[in-house]
Amino acid sequence: MSLFARHDSPVIGALFFLLWGPILWAGHLTIAYGGQALLCTLAASSADFDAATAIRLLIGVTTLASGLASVFGAVVPRLPFRLLLRRRPVDADDGTLIGIMRLLSALASLGILFAGVTTAVLPVCAQGR
């Protein structure tokens, strides 16, 4: 089979590698929005529960964690490549996949930053109108 590449990559692994950034961004948004909604409901039902700090803490930590993970993916793509595709990048096609993955992770980290920074500024559960 000299006509074709010498390696075979696991499909699921390749998929998760390619979407490394976006998946982190999606996780961050789910935790942020879902956490805020659930905690605001708890705060509404029981007076003593202080929603503001809990939400800011939760979203702060999630932003930090997912932001760093996606920046890490953008800066050192070879590690997740070896981890998920269980082989080393070899030829131009792998180079293209890595290139795509890096920019996606960079964009995702920007999205995470955009969403994360809002928590620091705005009141947590207020309707604010």
Partner: protein
């Protein structure tokens, strides 16, 4: 070749070849575009000046609802899916899509359902709730007639045909690429169709669940959306817009992919920034799922939540920026000047309008500004700029660019230019003034406005513009009528493009499937066309004696095996007709006839499936001394992949349900179990039900081991299959029975409705699984399934395992969550 001959005469509807049904698909989509366009003209006449009473209030409300619904559901998504069905196989040099009858079924269901839905405007039965159908306006209290049901059932069922097409395109893009076309060498249109299909798989189920909930509330009073019984009108908006916004990107991405195919041809240079455009497509696809709440900025949701989605709405504009600048770079990188043909004119028109629409999009992503312009004519202007600019202009470019592939004569340049300039000028004259009228306070969806408001002049200009667009489309239709000759393929590669769809191909696509080494094979491999024509590449003949194409691995595109594809048949056509009849008869409450049509639809599907899964023909040589099997089971089989994609669809439907369950708890905790409603039954019930589900899976594992050798029959496997189906049915029955005896009735509160909804979703899956298991049993009994030839069994096993898993998680949620709150 005789094998691929398209049936003629009154047997034409049985055709499944992608070019034939693709053309029907495009034709139907264009017909709906013209019809909805005429509705828009009537609306513009009514709004030309203030205080007009040409169109009554009720008719206008039906007009704008039908215009919106037809454009979004019956024109936009089907048109891009049709381009996928028509162009993708040719671009990937595949003989056809992996499941030709499935796409034929989807297309016929769409055509019939769409025509019946659109016809409701003629006999005063068209829905009046707007294309978004917000409850409580669309509940029976405020829309008592059948109008709303036509939207809920008619459009709901057409989404099912869109999902069928999406499954087809995912498997087609990943598995039927020509040998050598690795992921990184795939044409951009294939990338955009892959992401398009992926988005449909995760977005459409949300609106299908919402449609089911609203139809249940309208028909049986399950209070999901009525506030006094614990429901919430915003639940519908969340579910609808979680689908709504990805849908507009579902419409835009394929159009962007088409532009990325045409620009390099007219610049006669490879696309600059291939990676960047792929990143842009994937990023747009992902970010579009994270910004649905920007349609709900004015509903009083806390500002912090709004800020999350405002951030995501801004982030999504970056990928569009990347694509625009990549196209400009490609135009600049062209050796000679960018050729000014009709398609390139449409592309430049697209750039102009889409960029302006994108900028107003960023403006509207700002929450405070959206508080001012939401639901005003500013938004009408914005989305027409991004949708008409972003999709209709590339579509017209595609008509002119790819016409030679299906018509023996090219469309005329002269008429084409007239069409372009009329549409371009008309578009801006119509929709730019709407920005100003919107800011002057004119809200959307108003059948008239007082003439003292000073909006008359701008609205009159918009009406004149609308007629100019109509003139442009008319010129295009004249051009179509004069030059489009349905018949053998036109001149070879008139534009000098680089991608495979311009290889000389006939009804069976290319004579042989080429080995691909780069992104523009026609440019890089000189006499590829002659080599392919003389059959020097893969699969020149038809070794299995039927319709087949090569299946390659997803990433590296190494040949793996040959698919044997089914040919023309009546069964999928009847299945489509009866499915359409089932849903549409339900809307007018003719229940008995509807159920019979439903049963007939399932029967036709079973007959259709009976002709599939033909025995393998052993190893065959496909050329280049490569021998591949013709029958394969297990995770590499394309039907396994299709089942996985189907399970993703059912999974996202279930996740949307879990979101709705938790959301309704946050809205009305007082209605929830410990104090608001009776507690779920004793834990024995869910445990028994769960036990049955897990037991069923075990039974199927045993049946797998008991599969007979080829040619023999095994009664144990048959028995195990039947037992497993009964176990599943019993599990669902016990779950429902458990709740019924606690006195919980589904129409009591939103909590109760949600509890029964879980059982209903699992029951829906169970019904499909039982039919599949019994079908597998029948195959087993007639010696058509054995240890080697077991694709049907694999599919049944997969679906069974998934439904059991979903059932278990449903039990955990419904029985566990209330106990957490105690």
């Amino acid at each position: 070749m005789r094998i691929w001959k398209t049936p003629t005469g009154w047997r034409l509807p049985t055709a499944v070849n992608n070019t034939v049904i693709g053309l029907l698909y495009i034709g139907a989509a264009f017909l709906f575009f013209v019809l909805a366009g005429i509705l828009a003209l009537v609306m513009r006449i009514q709004l030309a000046v203030g205080d007009q009473r040409i169109v009554t209030q009720e008719l206008y409300n039906q007009l704008f609802t039908t215009h919106g619904t037809t454009m979004m559901f019956l024109f936009a998504v089907p048109a891009v899916e049709a381009l996928g069905v028509m162009l993708l196989p040719q671009m990937l040099a595949a003989r056809d899509l992996p499941f030709p009858r499935l796409s034929a079924y989807a297309i016929w269901a769409y055509v019939i359902g769409g025509l019946v839905f659109f016809s409701t405007i003629f006999y005063d039965l068209a829905p009046q709730g707007g294309w978004f159908m917000y409850p409580p306006l669309t509940t029976t209290q405020y829309s008592p007639g059948n109008n709303a049901d036509f939207w809920l059932l008619g459009i709901g069922f057409i989404e099912i045909s869109a999902i069928a097409g999406a499954i087809e395109i995912v498997v087609g893009t990943l598995r039927t690429r020509p040998p050598g076309m690795t992921l990184a060498k795939m044409p951009i249109f294939a990338w955009s169709m892959l992401i398009f299909a992926g988005m449909i798989i995760f977005a459409f189920p949300a609106v299908i669940l919402a449609t089911m909930l609203l139809e249940l509330e309208r028909a049986f009073g399950w209070p999901f959306f009525s506030a006094e019984l614990g429901g919430d009108a915003l639940l519908w908006q969340h579910l609808f817009w979680f689908f709504g916004h990805p849908e507009v990107y579902i419409i835009f991405l394929p159009a962007a992919g088409l532009v990325s195919m045409m620009v390099p041809t007219f610049a006669q240079t490879p696309l600059v920034g291939y990676r960047l455009i792929v990143v842009a497509l994937i990023a747009t696809g992902f970010f579009s799922f994270g910004l649905w709440v920007h349609h709900m900025f004015t509903t009083g949701i806390p500002t912090l939540s709004l800020a999350f989605f405002s951030a995501a709405s801004m982030a999504v504009s970056i990928p569009s920026g990347i694509q625009v600048f990549s196209w400009i770079a490609t135009i600049a990188a062209g050796r000679e000047r960018f050729r000014m043909t009709v398609p390139s004119l449409f592309i430049l028109g697209f750039l102009f309008i889409f960029v302006l629409g994108g900028l107003t999009g960023v403006m509207v992503a700002m929450v405070p500004f959206d508080w001012q312009v939401h639901d005003s004519y500013f938004i009408v202007a914005h989305f027409h700029y991004v949708l008409v600019g972003g999709m209709v202009f590339p579509l017209f470019a595609t008509f002119y660019y790819w016409a030679p592939m299906v018509s023996s004569r090219m469309l005329s340049e002269r008429l084409g230019r007239w069409t372009f300039w009329l549409m371009f000028m008309g578009f801006n004259v119509t929709f730019f003034p709407m920005h100003i009228v919107g800011l002057q306070g004119m809200p959307r969806r108003v059948w008239t406005y007082p003439s003292m408001m000073g909006w008359d002049l701008l609205n009159t200009i918009s009406t004149i513009g609308a007629f100019i667009i109509a003139a442009g489309v008319l010129v295009f239709i004249i051009d179509l009528a004069r030059n489009f000759r349905f018949g053998q393929v036109g001149p070879d590669n008139p534009w000098g493009a680089g991608t495979l769809e311009w290889l000389p191909n006939d009804v069976y696509s290319t004579r042989s499937i080429p080995l691909v080494r780069s992104r523009e094979p026609l440019w890089d491999q000189q006499n590829l066309a002659e080599e392919v024509k003389n059959g020097h590449h893969f699969l020149p003949g038809a070794p299995t004696g039927g319709r087949e194409t090569v299946v390659t691995t997803a990433i590296e595109a190494k040949p793996q095996y040959i698919i044997q594809m089914p040919g023309p048949s009546w069964t999928h056509l009847f299945a489509a007709v009866f499915t359409a009849a089932f849903f549409l008869l339900l809307t007018i409450k003719a229940v008995t006839i509807a159920i019979t049509c439903g049963v007939l639809a399932v029967a036709s599907c079973l007959i259709w499936a009976w002709q599939l899964d033909r025995p393998g023909k052993g190893e065959v040589d496909i050329g280049g001394d490569i021998r591949v099997p013709t029958y394969i089971t297990g995770p590499q089989s394309h039907s396994w992949w299709a089942m996985v994609v189907l399970m993703l669809v059912m999974g996202s439907l279930f996740i949307a349900y879990v979101f709705s369950y938790l959301y309704l708890w946050t809205v009305s905790p007082d209605v929830w179990a410990p104090d608001g409603s009776p507690m779920p039954p004793h834990v024995a019930y869910p445990l028994l039900s769960a036990g049955l589900l897990v037991g069923g899976v075990a039974l199927l594992a045993l049946a797998y081991r008991a599969l007979p050798d080829p040619g023999k029959r095994s009664w144990e496997a048959f028995l195990l299959l039947v037992l497993a189906s009964c176990a599943m049915a019993a599990a669902v029955g016990i779950e429902v029975w458990g709740h019924w005896i606690t006195g919980l009735r589904p129409d009591a509160s939103s909590y109760a409705a949600m509890v029964y909804m879980a059982a209903l979703l699992t029951g829906q899956g169970a019904l499909a699984v039982i039919v599949l298991c019994l079908f597998a049993g029948a195959r087993l009994a007639t010696r058509q399934m054995d240890r080697v030839r077991r694709v049907t069994f694999d599919n049944a096993f997969l679906l069974y395992a998934y439904t059991a898993g979903q059932g278990l998680f449903g039990l955990l949620l419904v029985h566990g969550f209330p106990r957490l709150l105690v």
